[in-house]
């Protein structure tokens, strides 16, 4: 599971992690559940259907799946109650929308239930169909509620299939099979949310994996610069070195140093959380497949 504050690059990191896991020739499934079609956008594909699709343009056996709660409910009904035709009729009535919104938490139970199904699916010889399943999970603000399925289910149903279903999911989420990775930037709010999510997930007994710093930049400056020093350099390089340019460059250097100092503090705070920390560089040319492979190589370590 890959989570993090909105905007930190969760989807990118989830994709890179899936590529890393698939790099040894294993079959890996990358799943999204937020209905954002983030995977399709990332890989520049048409919107994904509710089916496991193999990603082209790469040797890795990576498959993509966008889970839709409505489809998941229909599939669930069909699987357990053989409700094929009736299910379709329900959809016409808007009943599916109703059922997935009427019961808060049912939606998350269906989504995590689908993740459990693909994770535990086996082939004829009893081997796991996927070596690993990577979930581009909801952001840190909602991750606790999303993963705390039994709690939500208990509010809804004291007995019945939904209860046993959610208990199965909860057991899987708390087992060593699961690992929740927290993605952050070296910025104050994402780091704060990472710290908060650690606390929340720990209380829920859900195993936490790595802390992944995305968009990390190497420190460029080792010291403050004087205008005299700067002027000598610019002149030596044959560049103009008037007062305005010197002021401007010095201000940029000072801002950079201030930023570096803040990042250093935040980095230290993340290391204090006691989980392994991985840093992924900023992909300055945007995120494409080759960029993802670069990140994957770092994650494969």
């Amino acid at each position: 599971m890959v989570t993090g504050k909105g905007g930190v690059g969760k989807t990118t990191v989830a994709a890179a992690l899936a590529l890393a896991l698939a790099s040894k020739g294993d079959r890996v499934l990358l799943v999204e559940v937020e209905g954002r079609q983030g995977l399709a956008q990332l890989f520049e594909l048409e919107p994904l259907p509710y089916a496991e699709m193999r990603l082209g343009d790469t040797d890795a056996d990576l498959r993509l799946l966008a889970v839709d709660p409505e489809e998941a409910l229909l599939e669930y009904l069909d699987l357990f109650y053989k409700m094929g035709r009736a299910g379709r009729a329900l959809r016409r009535l808007g009943a599916i929308d109703f059922a997935t919104t009427v019961a808060p938490g049912l939606r998350d139970i269906l989504l995590t239930g689908k993740v459990k199904e693909v994770t535990t699916r086996t082939d004829e010889s009893g081997r796991r169909r996927y070596r690993a399943v990577v979930l581009d999970a909801p952001p840190t603000g909602r991750i606790g509620r999303f993963l705390n399925v039994t709690h939500e289910a208990a509010r809804l149903a004291k007995l019945g299939p939904i209860k046993s279903q959610s208990e199965g999911v909860a057991a899987l989420l708390r087992s060593p099979i699961t690992s929740v990775h927290l993605v952050t930037l070296l910025e104050e709010m994402p780091v704060q949310e990472t710290v908060d999510a650690m606390t929340e997930l720990t209380a829920l007994h859900i195993p936490i994996g790595k802390i992944i710093i995305n968009g990390a930049r190497p420190p460029l400056l080792t010291t403050r610069v004087t205008q005299a020093e700067l002027k000598k350099g610019l002149v030596a390089a044959g560049l103009p070195a008037d007062r305005e340019i010197l002021n401007g460059l010095q201000a940029e250097a000072n801002d950079h140093l201030a930023r570096q100092a803040v990042e250093e503090q935040l980095r230290a705070e993340l290391h204090r959380l006691g989980r392994p920390v991985v840093e992924l560089p900023l992909l300055s040319d945007g995120v494409d497949l080759s960029g993802l492979h670069r990140l994957a190589a770092i994650l494969a370590g």
Binding site: K5, G6, G7, V8, E34, R36, Y76, F80, Y81, A86, A89, L90, L93, G94, A95, F98, A99, T101, V102, A103, P104, L106, P139, G141, E152, R155, L156, A157, L159, G160, P161, I162, E187, E188, M189, Q192, R217, L220, L221, T222, T223, E229, L230, G233, L234, A236, A237, G238, L239, P240, I245, N247, G248, L249, A251, E252, A253, A258, S284, G286
Partner: protein, 383 residues
Amino acid sequence: MPGNQVPGDHVPGNHDDRFDVDAVLGDAGVRIVVCCGSGGVGKTTTAAALALRAAEVHGRNTVVLTIDPARRLAQSLGLNELDNVPRQVKDTTLHAMQLDMKRTFDDVVLTHTAPERAKEIFANPFYQAMSTTFSGTQEYMAMEKLGQLRASDEWDLIVVDTPPSRSALDFLDAPARLGRFLDGRMLRLLLAPARAGGRSVFNLVTASFGAFSKAVQKILGAQLLTDLSGFVAALDSMFGGFRERAELTYRVLQDPQTAFVLVAAPEPDAVREAAYFAERLWAERMPLAGLVLNRMHFSGVPTLSAPQSTEAAKILAESHPVAAQVLRVHELLMRQVSREAEVASHFTDRFLQVPVARVPAQPTDVHDLAGLRTIGLALAIRD
């Protein structure tokens, strides 16, 4: 007046593409400013900065309604107490409040039902779940609170932050969704046995609905259905009220007294979301006043290009290492500036009429009043 039919048209003082924030905040006809945009773009900070500026610079009696502020920003706005009413922010004339979703829902129930009935509703496990976790409740309650604040006519200006939704559009859609749900045929069918008092309404029920009811029972258990039925019966008296209020708020949002401010960061996702939103506001005939691009980078030395800097840094690496480092910093900054301009152009090229305010990235996060004043000033600067 920023109310308009064409995005960005008739914005006061809008003779170029610069968003004249002060003209909007100082316009006595503008009573509501709605800040919207995707998560993580600085929406809450922008809302707070605009509100503080309206109060302090324009002397307007202003309240800011925040949804989910970062802890330290909440502290600096004095939002430690969650009592769901506006409180004056220390050392300012601004008032602020943080939305308490459950309490707002409870208040709606209390205003629409007899105390006995309300007690029943509050005790229903279904209500408890829905008032805290229904996926549209927060959006609905934000609009409800906005409606209440506006109806009180106590404020010159209400600045509202929108919930951190999956999609920036959720807050426009969720009230309608919740309204449909509470008002829906489906619920009425479920409600039928509880309401009919023995007289069966089930002759109206289709075969599919029978299957649905059975399916719900199978999945959720019969107890849930009983709870749900009780909940719906208890809420029955409020159906009309819900719909009416949602519609009223919706109309206020279309009125020229409202100014929508889109907030984005110069990142592809945020800008794409802002573009969807601009189109949606246009389709809903809601007045879009301008776009705020947060966290923009600027260089004080725009004449020195990135390639020039790279080249010079290479030459100086051995002889003048510190100057070379500074040139590397400048090179990266110039690249970032042009990348951001490129990303922003996806919006600005498409919505030529929407004026834009560009706010420089702050070296550290904003979480005090001084920081908010700085942002407010940056929003207002138009050169």
